[in-house]
C-alpha cells in the first residue's frame, strides 16, 4: 500500500496535506513507484475506501490474521521439522523416549519441543492459531448468514468462504498428522479406514495415498507437501479473491440514519482502518502467543511415536474434525454384503457422504434461499436475525445438528466427566441429531417472530421507561416514551411483505413446490407497521401525553379520565 498520502489527498481535492513543489522523501519514493508501476490509481482507489464499523465485521479479520500467524510460525517450524518416516533410534534429550525407534518426523518434533529454544512455543502458537483460524471462520460465517450478508451480490464470496472452511479443515488435519505421534497416527489409520470404505475405488485411493499398504513410509512426506504447498497456495489464492470481492462489493452495513442501500458510511482505509487492522493483527498474534505460553497443546511426547499396535483412551481428532468422528460413533453398524463385495454404510455414510452433503448444503444456502424467496435485488443493508425468522431458524437447526455430532465426538469424555454411560449417550444422540434440529428450528422461529412483535410494539408505543404511574382510579401503567429518532428509523428499514414475485401455479391451479416453500418461508412473519398504524399510534401517544399534561398541577379527584370532573376551579361558584 502506498504511503503517498499527500498525493491522494490532493487528488481528492480537499485540504492538501503537504504544500506542493517541495517533494518529501516519501513523495519521491511514491513518485518512483508510480512511474514504474502506476500505483497511484490503486492507491487512490484503496486508500480512502470506506468501511463501516461494527465488532461483528471483524470476525473474519481474526481468521485472516490467524492465517498470517500460521504462515509466520509455519515457516519457522519448517527450519527444524524433518518430514521423513525413516526409522531412527531417538537419542534426544527427552529421556523417557530415549532408545525408542521412531520416525524422523517424530524425532524432529521432539527436538523442536525440547532442544530448540522457543521451539515448543512455536509449535503451540502454530497449533493454537490453526484452531482459531477455523473457529473464527465459523463464527464469521454465522455472522454473515444471520445478518443476510450472503445475499446478492455476495453469493460467490460465500462460496469462496465455505471452500476456505473446508480447505482450512483439511489443512489442519494434514498439519496435526505430521508429527507422526500415537494420537495423529491413529487418526491417519482411521482416515485409511474411511477411504477403504468407499465402494469400488476405496482400496485404490488408499493405495495411491499411502503408496502401498498402511502405513508404509510415504504418507508423512506426502502430507507435508500437501500441508506446506498445495493447500496453503489454494488458501492464499482464495483469501485474495475473498478480499478483492469484499472491496469490489464494498462492505455491508447496518441500517441507520444516513445509511442506505446506495451508500456505505464509515471510516476510510487510510488512516482509520489501516491502523485498526494493523493493531488487530498484533493483538491476534499476541493472544495466540499467550495461549501458546499458558496452555499446553498436543503434548506429543506423552503420546509417544506412532505404533500401529498402540492406542490411547480419548483418541479424538482436533475439534474441527470432531463432528464427522461423532457421526461415525453414533452410526449403527450397518454393513451389507452382495456378490462377494462389502458395502460399509456404517463408515461411508457418516464420514464421506454426510460431510460432503453438509458442505454442499452450506455452499448452496444463498442460492436455495434466493430460489425460495425469488429475491433478485442487491442487498447491502444487513438484516437483524429476527427479521428473517425462517433463515435464522434454519441455520440454528444446522448448528444444533453440528453440535449434536460434535458432542458425539466427545462422548467418552462426557461419559467420564459427567458419570454417564457412553451407551446411553449414544442412544440419546442417535435420536437427538434428528429431533434436536427440529426443536431448535421451531423454537428459534417462534422466538424471532415474537421479537418482531416486540419491535413493532416499541415502534408504535415507545420503549418501557421503567416509570410506573398510578392513575387516580388506582390502576397502574408503565410510562412509555418514543424511541430515539435514529433507532426508530433503523427499525423501520426492512422489507415489507414478500421479497420476490409470486411464483407461478401449476397447470392444475395447485401451488408449485417452490410456492409452498415460499409460503412456509414467510409463514407467521410479522410485518412492520403500516404508515397508518404508526401515525395512529403516534397520535394516540400525543393525545395521552397531552391529557397527562393537562392534569399537571391539578388536584387529583378520582375523575381525571372520565367526564365527571369536578374541580374546585372549574365549578361555577355562583350556582
Amino acid at each position: 500500500m502506498s504511503t503517498d498520502t499527500s498525493k491522494v489527498a490532493a487528488s481528492n481535492g480537499t485540504d492538501a496535506a503537504a504544500p506542493a513543489g517541495k517533494p518529501t522523501k516519501a513523495g519521491a519514493a511514491a513518485n518512483w513507484a508510480d512511474e514504474r508501476l502506476g500505483v497511484g490509481g490503486l492507491s487512490k482507489f484503496l486508500s480512502r475506501k470506506i468501511f463501516p464499523d461494527h465488532w461483528s465485521f471483524m470476525l473474519g479479520e481474526i481468521a485472516l490474521w490467524s492465517f498470517v500467524v500460521l504462515l509466520v510460525t509455519g515457516v519457522f517450524l519448517t527450519l527444524w521439522f524433518k518430514p521423513s518416516m525413516a526409522e531412527i533410534t531417538y537419542q534426544g534429550s527427552y529421556a523417557p523416549l530415549r532408545g525408542i525407534d521412531m520416525s524422523e518426523a517424530m524425532a524432529s518434533t521432539l527436538d523442536i519441543s525440547f532442544d530448540v529454544r522457543g521451539g515448543l512455543l512455536l509449535r503451540q502458537v502454530h497449533h493454537w492459531a490453526a484452531s482459531l483460524f477455523i473457529a473464527s471462520m465459523m463464527i464469521h460465517m454465522m455472522r454473515v448468514f444471520f445478518t443476510g450478508a450472503h445475499r446478492k451480490p455476495r453469493e460467490i464470496n460465500w462460496v469462496i468462504g465455505a471452500t476456505l472452511l473446508l480447505l482450512g479443515t483439511l489443512e489442519g488435519f494434514t498439519g496435526y498428522s505430521l508429527p507422526d505421534d500415537l494420537l495423529s497416527g491413529t487418526g491417519i489409520r482411521a482416515a485409511d479406514g474411511f477411504m477403504m470404505a468407499i465402494p469400488i475405488v476405496g482400496t485404490y485411493i488408499s493405495f495411491f495415498l499411502f503408496g502401498g499398504e498402511f502405513p508404509g513410509d510415504d504418507i508423512i512426506p506426502r502430507l507435508f507437501t500437501i500441508h506446506v504447498l498445495l493447500i496453503p497456495a489454494l488458501l492464499l489464492a482464495l483469501i485474495g479473491a475473498h478480499l478483492i470481492l469484499l472491496i469490489y462489493h464494498k462492505h455491508t452495513q447496518w441500517p441507520g440514519p444516513g445509511r442506505t442501500e446506495k451508500n456505505v458510511v464509515g471510516y476510510p482505509m487510510v488512516p482509520n482502518y489501516i491502523s485498526k487492522m494493523t493493531g488487530f493483527f498484533f493483538i491476534t498474534f499476541g493472544v495466540t502467543a499467550l495461549l501458546g505460553a499458558l496452555f499446553s497443546l498436543n503434548p506429543v511426547w506423552k503420546y509417544g511415536p506412532y505404533d500401529p499396535t498402540k492406542v490411547t483412551a480419548g483418541s479424538q481428532p482436533d475439534w474441527y474434525m470432531g463432528w464427522p468422528d461423532g457421526a461415525l460413533r453414533i452410526m449403527p453398524g450397518w454393513e451389507s454384503h452382495f456378490w462377494g463385495s462389502t458395502w460399509s454404510w456404517n463408515i461411508f455414510f457418516p464420514v464421506i457422504v454426510l460431510p460432503m452433503a453438509a458442505w454442499m448444503v452450506v455452499l448452496l444456502l444463498p442460492f436455495i434461499e434466493a430460489w425460495i424467496t425469488g429475491d433478485k435485488r442487491e442487498h447491502h443493508l444487513l438484516q437483524r436475525p429476527r427479521n428473517a425468522p425462517t433463515r435464522t431458524a434454519t441455520f440454528v437447526a444446522l448448528m444444533v445438528f453440528y453440535a449434536a455430532f460434535w458432542a458425539a465426538g466427545g462422548n467418552d469424555i462426557i461419559a467420564i466427566k459427567f458419570d454417564l454411560s457412553i451407551n446411553q449417550i449414544t442412544y440419546f444422540l442417535r435420536a437427538f441429531v434428528f429431533l434436536g434440529p427440529i426443536a431448535a428450528f421451531i423454537i428459534t422461529r417462534r422466538w424471532c417472530i415474537s421479537l418482531q412483535r416486540h419491535d413493532n410494539e416499541k415502534l408504535l408505543h415507545g420503549y418501557e421507561t421503567g416509570t410506573v404511574i398510578r392513575t387516580p382510579e388506582g390502576a397502574y401503567h408503565e410510562k412509555h416514551l418514543p424511541l430515539p429518532e435514529g433507532e426508530a428509523f433503523a427499525m423501520t428499514v426492512r422489507d415489507r411483505g414478500r421479497a420476490g414475485d409470486e411464483p407461478e401455479l401449476k397447470k392444475n391451479g395447485k401451488p408449485t413446490f417452490r410456492a409452498k416453500l415460499r409460503a412456509f418461508y414467510y409463514d407467521h412473519d410479522v410485518d412492520k407497521p403500516t404508515a397508518e398504524e404508526l401515525s395512529a399510534a403516534h397520535h394516540h401517544a400525543e393525545h395521552e401525553a397531552h391529557e397527562l399534561a393537562a392534569h399537571e398541577g391539578h388536584q387529583v379527584d378520582g375523575h381525571d379520565f372520565d367526564d365527571h370532573r369536578h374541580s374546585a376551579i372549574e365549578e361555577p361558584l355562583s350556582k
Binding site: H54, W55, S56, M58, L59, E61, I62, P96, L97, R98, G99, I100, S113, L120, Q124, W128, S131, L132, A135, S136, L182, L183, G279, F280, I283, V287, L291, G292, A293, L294, F295, S296, L297, N298, P299, W301, K302, Y303, G304, D307, K310, V311, T312, A313, G314, Q316, P317, D318, W319, G409, N411, D412, I413, A415, I416, L420, S421, I422, N423, Q424
Partner: protein, 293 residues
C-alpha cells in the same frame, strides 16, 4: 535464573517441592526401620503367632464390615436371580484387599456401574489384618514389598532411566487404551470407567495390575513380569513428576478440552478485543477550535 529451581542431583530431577527433602529423609528413616525389622532376629514361631493373631483380628473386622455382601466365610453371595451380590474372596489374596480397602473402594457405598473411590475407612493396620484373613482363605497374590514398586529403589540413574523408557512402552501398549496417555482415565461400556491413576499410590498400581480390580484385566507375573511392572510404575511416577512443559494441560484429556480452550478462551478474548476496537470512544459536547461547526 538457572539457580532457581534448577535441580541439583540427577536422581531427583523434577522434584521441586520444599517438602521433598523432608520426605526423602522420612522415607530413608522408614526404610531403615523396615530393614531393621526385616533383619532383626525373630523366631519363626513368633511370626506365626503374630500372623494368627492378625488373621483373628482381620476375621473380626471382616465379619462386621464385609460379610454382608461377601458372605461370612468370604464365599460370596449370589442373589436369587443368579447375579453376584458380592463376589467370593477365596483366592483373591492380600493384595486385592490392600488395594480395594486401601483406596477406599471397599466397603462399597452403593452398587453401580463404577465403584467409587473414597477416603479409606480403615487404617493400614486394620487393612493388613483383613488382608491377612482373606489371604488365609486361599492362596492369592500377596501385598508387594516396597522394593518391588518403588521407582527410587533402582541402583543407578541410568538403570532407572532405562526402566522408565521400557515402562513407557509397556504402559502405552497395555494401559493407555483404557487409562489414557497420561493416566487421566477413560470411559468403559455401560457407565463404567477406567479411573484416573494420577493420584494413585505406586503400591496400589502394582496391586491393581496383579489383581485386576472390578472389570480390569489382570496382568499377572506371567503376563507382565515383576520387573516390567516396576518399570511401568517408574514411568507413571516420572510422568507425575514431569512439569507441564507447554503450560496448563487442560485436564490431560486430549483434543476435546483443547477445542474448548480455543473456542472459549482464545476466540472469547479476540471477540472481546474486536468489540473494544469497534466501540465508540468517549465524546464531548465541545467543538474543535477552528472547525466549521
Amino acid at each position: 535464573m538457572r539457580l532457581l529451581n534448577r535441580s541439583v542431583g540427577r536422581l531427583s530431577r523434577h522434584r521441586r517441592r520444599p517438602l521433598a527433602g523432608a520426605a526423602v529423609l522420612l522415607v530413608a528413616l522408614l526404610s531403615t526401620g523396615g530393614l531393621y525389622a526385616a533383619f532383626s532376629p525373630a523366631s519363626q514361631a513368633e511370626t506365626e503367632k503374630d500372623n494368627a493373631a492378625l488373621v483373628a483380628e482381620g476375621k473380626e473386622l471382616f465379619m462386621i464390615n464385609c460379610s454382608t455382601c461377601h458372605g461370612s466365610n468370604g464365599e460370596g453371595i449370589t442373589t436369587q436371580n443368579g447375579k453376584l451380590f458380592g463376589p467370593s474372596l477365596i483366592g483373591v489374596g492380600a493384595a486385592s484387599v490392600d488395594f480395594q480397602v486401601g483406596t477406599g473402594r471397599m466397603p462399597m457405598a452403593q452398587p453401580g456401574a463404577q465403584v467409587e473411590v473414597k477416603e479409606p475407612s480403615f487404617n493400614q493396620d486394620e487393612i493388613d489384618a483383613m488382608a491377612a484373613y482373606v489371604a488365609s482363605l486361599g492362596p492369592g497374590p500377596a501385598v508387594p514389598d516396597k522394593e518391588q514398586y518403588d521407582p527410587e529403589s533402582y541402583g543407578s540413574e541410568k538403570e532407572k532411566e532405562e526402566a522408565v523408557a521400557l515402562g513407557g512402552q509397556i504402559f502405552l501398549t497395555n494401559c493407555t487404551a483404557c487409562h489414557n496417555f497420561t493416566g487421566a482415565g477413560g470411559a468403559m461400556p455401560r457407565g463404567g470407567e477406567a479411573p484416573s491413576i494420577l493420584n494413585t499410590d505406586p503400591k496400589h498400581i502394582y496391586e491393581a495390575m496383579l489383581t485386576g480390580p472390578q472389570s480390569m484385566d489382570t496382568f499377572s507375573d506371567g503376563n507382565i513380569s515383576p520387573e516390567e511392572k516396576k518399570a511401568v510404575i517408574s514411568y507413571v511416577e516420572s510422568m507425575k513428576e514431569q512439569p507441564d512443559y507447554g503450560g496448563f494441560n487442560n485436564g490431560a484429556l486430549g483434543p476435546v478440552t483443547e477445542g474448548i480452550v480455543a473456542w472459549v478462551i482464545g476466540l472469547g478474548i479476540l471477540v472481546a478485543f474486536a468489540t473494544w476496537i469497534a466501540a465508540h470512544t468517549t465524546r464531548t459536547n465541545q467543538t474543535k477550535k477552528g472547525s466549521a461547526k
